[in-house]
């Protein structure tokens, strides 16, 4: 077990470092005069030079990357003009645009993204696994076809269409819910949930189809297994067969897919966050990409990568619990 953990952690660190290198290189060659963007469109060449110097943009790529690693391990000092402040390790640097510490920025944004993704995950599991079970049970009948159609509509429609139409109808015309506006969970849990309901639903509708297909496929397989036939032969009720035995067999792949999707949704729910105005990681990241705010981009991508890696590790453990034949190696 210790060996497994150690290897996992080491693997995660290597993965994250590789990601940071890729991002550095990709954004190094991305067009866009960072100093001019930071300074403003009407800055003179001299001012732009001063800003470039200030942001150390003239250093070669490897020096800048080394500086980044240094900050991660040892923290870094920076000047506000009137005083010198310290950004303690692990310091991801300062935003070119806002001069905020990237670590602080992430801490501000992460709760929003996690709120969105956790809630949506509950919904997509309920919707996805639910329809999957139902359609395996009702295989080939009209109700299965309908369910398949509904979940596929989710895949087929981009979130900005589903979300906007939902908002116009539910919030604007029927006035059942307020227009979503993020409220901190710690401030008001009830409002937090009400405001996030539509974003959760929109994101869940998009993810649910894959779970429905997967659950259905796995269940059908398990249902065809010999031991299920045996249960049936012994007169175990259909509900019990479906609910207890077949579903259990379908759990493992669902867990794996869920880990995958959870991880990537932490930063990948860009469109959902943008549409609903949720100030999360994804929205911030797209903004940072547009203004070539490298420290923010690297920091955010690393956080997302961290969650993907973490989610996969959790999945492996859950996987082992769900399926005792698996040995953590």
């Amino acid at each position: 077990m210790t060996g497994f953990l150690l290897r996992r952690v080491l693997g995660a660190v290597v993965t994250l470092l590789a990601i940071s290198v890729i991002v550095y290189v990709v954004f190094y060659v991305t067009p866009g005069n960072v100093a001019q963007i930071t300074c403003g469109p009407r800055c003179s060449p001299e001012q732009v030079d001063q800003v470039a110097q200030q942001l150390r943009l003239d250093d070669p790529l490897y020096v800048r990357y080394w500086h980044f690693l240094e900050g991660l391990v040892a923290g870094q000092d920076y000047s506000t003009g009137t005083s010198v402040e310290h950004c303690s390790a692990p310091c991801l640097g300062l935003s070119y645009q806002s001069d905020q510490q990237v670590t602080q920025l992430i801490l501000n944004k992460l709760p929003v993204s996690l709120s969105l993704v956790f809630g949506a995950m509950v919904l997509w599991l309920i919707l996805g696994v639910g329809t999957g079970v139902l359609s395996a049970w009702r295989r080939g009948r009209l109700s299965e076809r309908l369910l398949t159609g509904v979940t596929l509509a989710g895949v087929a429609t981009p979130v900005f269409v589903i979300g906007l139409v939902l908002m116009i109808v539910v919030c604007g015309q029927l006035q059942l819910l307020p227009f979503p506006q993020y409220v901190n969970l710690t401030d008001d849990p009830e409002q937090w949930a009400w405001n996030l309901l539509l974003p959760w639903l929109s994101l869940a509708l998009i993810e649910a189809a894959a779970f429905a297909r997967l659950t259905r496929a796995s269940m059908l397989e398990t249902l065809a297994d010999d031991h299920i036939r045996t249960f049936r032969a012994y007169g175990v009720g259909e509900r019990s067969v479906i609910g207890r035995h077949a579903l259990r067999g379908a759990l493992a792949p669902v867990i794996a897919l869920n880990a995958n999707n959870f991880g990537s949704a932490v930063g990948g729910a860009v469109l959902t966050e943008t549409l609903f105005g949720l100030p999360g990681i994804g929205q911030e990241l797209v903004h940072a990409v547009n203004v070539v705010d490298l420290p923010v981009v690297v920091g955010m991508v690393l956080v997302i990568g961290f969650f993907v890696v973490l989610a996969n590790a959790v999945a492996d453990v859950l996987y082992a619990v769900a399926d005792r034949r698996v040995v953590l190696a």
Partner: protein
């Protein structure tokens, strides 16, 4: 293809004496839904290919402006009922520009289907090569490739696309670029599936036998493994195509999709969502087309998989590469 299909039959499932391809077609034809879906897919492809012909028949083209058909003072909403549907404009016209919607829809099918299919092919190719190599290679090769796959999976697709699309010079043909970018970034999951499946198959008797009899790795991969991973790949690819169409739409939404005036369904959806109240058909047309495509592809994918291997078909799982006991 027929060779692959013969070999897909897992031990005990094959019916002796009947050719694999024949069996496959027989099983596929037996599924009415799959046949209908195949018809729809064929029709869509046909429409995309025949776009110039169809628009010539209508007497329109996708890029000509008709300022007189929209109400400029009201934001450019189409004049006339149902979004300006008429004998000249079968599905009405686009708000603001008055461009013909039928023409844009059928031309859009070319880009959307083309980009999605091309991206899917890229994803499947890379995914299969990486997945199979990881499963069959030495421990180091496996570690390296699996780590690499992890990195790709962990990089946010949208963000990397934004950056990559900005780097490449604008003279590069955009639809090809969009397909490549989606393909190059989105192969991680399929590589994981293939690796997991290959690991499972590796332990099966007939593969083990082949190994013992001294077949080369390449030959084993081609003759014994590829057929076994075909079913899950087809299933997953059927889901990849629609999600790639969505990815193209999302890139359009972020402003880095296919370039105007080239129409694509994604671009139409992006432009149309705000028109949902004022000109609903503008949104409903591309949305409907996309839905139909996704539905048809999924049903067809299911059908093909069932026909390939009715019993083992659903065994395949999206795994993380853990060794699982083969249940066959």
């Amino acid at each position: 293809m027929s060779e692959a299909l013969v070999a897909v039959e897992t031990p005990g499932a094959a019916v002796p004496g009947v050719s694999g391809a024949g069996q496959f077609w027989r099983r596929l034809r037996a599924q009415r839904a799959a046949m209908v879906a195949a018809g729809v897919v064929a029709l869509l492809v046909l429409v995309a290919l025949a776009a110039p012909l169809l628009t010539a028949l209508e007497g329109q083209d996708p890029n000509t402006y008709h300022s007189s058909l929209v109400d400029s003072a009201r934001g450019g909403v189409p004049i006339g009922s149902l979004g300006g549907i008429s004998g000249d404009h079968w599905l009405g016209v686009e708000p603001q520009t008055g461009r013909d919607l039928f023409a844009r829809l059928v031309y859009g099918a070319r880009v959307s289907l083309g980009v999605a299919l091309a991206a899917t092919i890229v994803q499947v190719l890379i995914g299969v090569v990486v997945g199979v190599s990881a499963a069959l290679g030495s421990r180091w090769v496996d570690q390296l490739l699996s780590r690499f796959t992890d990195v790709i999976v962990a990089l946010p697709l949208m963000i990397m696309s934004l950056a990559l699309l900005a780097i490449v010079p604008s003279s590069f043909p955009r639809p090809v670029l969009v397909a490549l970018v989606i393909g190059l970034i989105g192969w991680g999951t399929i590589a994981k599936i293939v690796r997991a499946q290959t690991l499972t198959l590796k332990q099966l008797d007939h593969v083990a036998a082949a190994r013992l009899s001294g077949w080369g790795t390449w030959r084993i991969a081609r003759r014994e493994l590829l057929p076994g991973i075909a079913a899950p790949i087809i299933t997953y690819a059927a889901l990849l195509v629609p999600s790639n169409i969505s990815a193209e739409a999302a890139l359009s939404f972020l402003g880095v999709g296919v370039k105007p005036p080239t129409p694509s369904w994604g671009q139409m959806l992006t432009a149309a969502d705000v028109w949902y109240q004022a000109a609903p058909q503008y949104l409903l047309l591309p949305a409907g087309a996309l839905f139909l495509t996704v539905l048809a592809l999924t049903v067809l994918g299911d059908g093909v998989r069932t026909a390939l291997d009715p019993r083992a078909a659903s065994r395949l799982r999206v795994g993380t590469g853990r060794k699982r006991e083969a249940k066959a």
